[in-house]
């Protein structure tokens, strides 16, 4: 007996994400879903951004990791409201986890919410979290071929960050080849080269963020 269904497998996540998006919009919260491989510098980039942003904007952070509260502890040292989601080994965040995490914030007192996804270049891409924008990060030691090998993130990201440019002199990372892949995959996405260590290029990122919150 054949029973037709024709239903999205991710329907539940998509429905919850739509609810999260509505909830965030109602409180005028701009939300970034930050995706990269483990160790590209997601947490460091947030830590380096707080100083420039906190005068004008109320910030909050959701940290997603398979285990530990280490990243949340790093954020909490800056006196920014933070919730750690431990995914118990899970390779990505899902919308219901974010929905629950939001209960821990006073959303009326948040203008810009960063969601640091679990370090992974593949799985997080399939799960809408209700974010306003998606940020993809690659760091130079990972190699310039990452957009070619993991195209979906780079196809969908609203902005792409190339971090750790301070290490370029020691690597064979070809920035032009990297930019060419991105230009082919996602011609509209800005590529911001920066170093969290030296601070070079951080100003473009801050400007991009401030502009995004405004619009």
């Amino acid at each position: 007996m054949e029973i037709p269904v024709v239903e999205k497998v991710l329907k539940l996540n998509d429905d919850i994400a739509a609810g999260v998006r509505k909830r965030l919009l109602a409180h005028h919260v701009c939300t970034l879903n930050i995706i990269s491989a483990p160790g590209s510098g997601k947490t460091t980039l947030l830590e380096r951004s707080f100083g420039e942003l906190r005068e004008d904007l109320n910030l909050a952070v959701i940290e997603g990791d398979p285990d530990t509260t280490l990243d949340a502890e790093r954020i909490a040292k800056h006196n920014i409201p933070v919730v750690q989601i431990e995914t118990a080994g899970g390779c990505h965040l899902e919308a219901n986890l974010v929905d629950n995490a939001l209960n821990n914030f006073d959303l009326d007192a948040v203008d810009l919410l960063f969601i640091e996804n679990v370090g992974n270049l593949v799985c997080p891409c399939s799960f809408d979290l209700g974010e306003t924008c998606r940020v993809g990060i690659v760091s130079t030691p990972e190699g310039h071929d990452k957009p070619a090998k993991y195209p979906r993130l780079f196809k969908e990201a609203d902005v792409i960050i190339l971090n750790k440019i301070d290490l370029l002199p020691y690597l064979n990372f070809d920035v032009n080849v990297f930019r060419e892949y991105i230009a082919q995959l996602n011609p509209a996405a800005p590529v911001l080269e920066l170093s969290c260590t030296t601070g070079e290029g951080l100003d473009q990122w801050i400007a991009w963020l401030k502009n995004m919150v405004k619009t």
Binding site: M1, V5, V6, V9, E94, C125, R152, Q184
Partner: protein, 131 residues
Amino acid sequence: MHELGLIRNVLERALEIAEAHGSLPVESVHLRVGDYQNIVPELFSFAFEAARVDTLAADATLTWESVPLKVQCDNCKTLYMPESLIWNCLTCASNAATLVEGNELVLDHVVLQEPETAVADTQGASVWKSR
């Protein structure tokens, strides 16, 4: 490795359907999977085999139809089927295009065992019990 979570969703839905139809055993589950979804077929089958154990779908098979990418050029509206996520319009060479097919991840249909065979099975079971 998100395949495991996806398969759990699929299985849950299939079992709901089976239960709504008098708990008939699930014979097969059919998906449509777009190439955009980055699904590793082996992981999908493996996850299904692990998840179906001790459920109404314990003997069910999983099949899927893969759906190739089809995009439309944002510039000249040409429809074409790219081989990767790098899109080059065949007509105007623009990289900007919109996905029209290949993003689906859909539970298309579920096949349940025919009620007659299921009834026969139950009778068989009760005969066995009465012995």
